[in-house]
Symmetry: C2
């Protein structure tokens, strides 16, 4: 049953790969393993009690039938309005016609790729790049070009040169990137925006970590600085509210969003309405902003715990930048070496992390590793670094 | 802003069309219009109170963190187990490895099409066919061939002939089809299965209305009668539970489901976990089976009200078969004519329905109309038929 060779599949299937992260996560369900591998928010910080009360109130209200019925593909209008009030743009930058609720921001990637990418089309990404985006682009046959980055973000000159080839999309995650934690400063954002204004390529800016900042609020998105007809901005409530609702959003020019709506209609009709109504109520609670402030405080302490432990114990073996927000610390093996091999040794010590290779072009970035600090408490983070230290003992690279 | 001509979109976009239904639904939000147009279940029959209690219990339980966290792409394992217990197949026909929770059954269509269809590939459908499936197939550039049907279902001879061309998929909805209401009898199912057993084309059977039967439970699916390596079966909880959770499922051979899981990962990571956990609890309530029995009873009364009113008032003008289940009655203008033009006259009388053209190949089926009976109570159904009668007065076709 199911002899694989005998299926006459689409050419697209060649672009299908399982993410190494997914395979690692399968392994690390052992309770003795400390996981720096996933990208999970801390479940003990979920606004569970509040959501319980709100779900009961919702289902006892006059809105209950609407919250359980089929809905508009665009999303619940009141939620789209609320999203427009929350986003970091000058009011009026995007209108209701330019706002689409998506099934997590991953769906925004699927829909934009469907709309733009034919097999062989070029898509520009940063080095390293978010692996979920790479999966979506490659599934539709995109040729992905990794652009060089420094500590401030993508290099404007390299971007300008690549844009001359008229690629279909340029995908940027300038704010506390997964995996690198990098946040572009104000000056680099301005330079990148200027380069983009000279091009007809669509900017796809992915911004799920914006509200999870630790030291200072990040500068405004790049999408608000370019031709509004050439920018799509994606956001998510997976990090600030909860991931299980699978609610993200996408803002863009109405002429594009109209087509993205049609594409979404053919994909899943609409995002789950119960989750949309529940999120709308959550966003309307004064306690929600306190909740997000609490996340910042606790994740900051975790970042500090990981960064501090690394400084004390592994300053000679790893190099890294302290991330100003998000959920990840990105490190490099000082003496070079293969982080995938280090992972094997770390797993033997009871620690999991993600080797950085898969965030890069084939064969690149083998000496990098992504360490998640949102999921584990401070003690576990410190113990995890001790395990990493043991894994590095005698590791030749 | 957003000058459409200036976007360099994928070739796929040419396959994007808005459904006429969607356009009609936009018009009929006027409270004075009786709508036979949508395909909505009756919101007053939703198990709202039960869901309110269950959602509070869930979010106060130890499972709450899991119900709000990221989840496995395959779906919540306990829900997949429960689905396998409920489906109309011999136990063991499909295993856990062959079960995928989807974002409504529309997502099953998107994923299977992604996996199989390159531009120009042939897909076989019935005449008429479900419009959401047509949207998914056409979006990926499929050449859709409509097979002739009689009152028992697709014609086995025509199917056999078309299968000789080795199309990629054959999409069948043998049980209370949307739009036709048709349910294949036991004999036709057996004949169709025999034809399919002689082919390597994948059967995609869509079965969302199975539990909404009025006179007798429908025969077993065709998917259980063919080579298990060549069948994918899709189901939904949108008609029995509520549509707003957007939870459907797909069963198939593990070798295919494994790839569908990868495709789903690149599409939206996973289906919303809150909805999955809530549905799991709902399916475990003894009251749920009573709820479904109640739906059958009330929808049967509505079917009878619509059928009876048509018999009394429009027997000369329309021909139809009384549907044995589902949500739709499918009628034909006895004297021919264009149902889209009739719709204009009906809207002037305060009645909406869906002209049948778009369920057919271009230019076909203009004399057909789809009348929904699940959304309106019996009085409204009778008043709607009076309005339809007035619209037909002097309608030359």
């Amino acid at each position: 049953m199911g002899d694989e060779a005998s299926y006459d599949l689409s050419r697209r299937v060649e672009g299908l790969r399982s993410s190494a992260i997914r395979e690692i996560l399968r392994v690390v369900n052992r309770p003795d393993v400390i996981s720096f591998a996933g990208g999970l928010p801390a479940p003990e910080l979920f606004p569970t009690e509040l959501l319980g009360r709100l779900s009961l109130e919702l289902l006892q209200s006059r809105e209950a039938p609407q919250a359980l019925q089929y809905g508009e593909t665009e999303g619940v209008p009141a939620l789209r309005q609320r999203i427009l009030q929350r986003v970091p743009f000058v009011p009026g930058s995007f209108g209701l016609e330019g706002a689409l609720v998506t099934q997590g921001s991953q769906q925004g990637l699927d829909l934009v790729t469907k709309l733009f990418v034919d097999p062989g089309d070029e898509v520009l990404v940063e080095t390293p790049a978010y692996v979920g985006a790479l999966q979506a682009f490659r599934f539709f046959g995109a040729r992905v070009t990794f652009l060089p980055c420094d500590a401030e973000g993508v290099l404007p000159g390299a971007l300008a040169e690549a844009l001359r080839r008229r690629p279909k999309l340029v995908y940027l995650t300038p704010t506390f990137q997964n995996p690198s934690g990098l946040c572009y400063g104000e000056a680099r954002r301005a330079e990148v925006a200027e380069v983009l204004r000279g091009s007809t390529t669509l900017l796809l800016e992915d911004d799920p970590y914006r509200e999870i900042w630790f030291d200072a609020a990040p500068p405004a998105p790049i999408a608000g600085r370019v031709d509004p007809a050439r920018a799509v901005y994606m956001g998510s409530f997976s990090k600030t509210a909860v991931p299980g609702l699978r609610i993200g959003f996408l803002l863009g020019p109405p002429a594009l969003v109209r087509r993205l709506v049609l594409a979404k209609q053919a994909t899943d009709l609409h995002t789950n309405t119960l989750g949309q109504h529940l999120l709308l109520r959550l966003l309307s609670e004064p306690a929600f902003e306190e909740h997000v402030a609490g996340l910042r405080r606790i994740y900051r302490a975790r970042r500090d715990a990981l960064h501090g432990a690394l400084e004390r114990q592994l300053a000679g073996r790893l190099t890294w930048q302290r991330p100003g927000g998000g959920m990840f610390l990105w490190a490099r093996l000082s003496g070079g070496g293969d982080a995938a091999r280090l992972l094997e040794r770390a797993l033997a010590q009871g620690l999991a992390f993600v080797p950085g290779g898969e965030f890069h072009a084939e064969g690149q970035g083998r000496d990098t590793l992504r360490l998640n600090f949102s999921f584990s408490g401070e003690e576990k983070l410190e113990e995890g670094v001790r395990r990493l230290e043991r894994a590095l003992e005698g590791f030749a690279g």
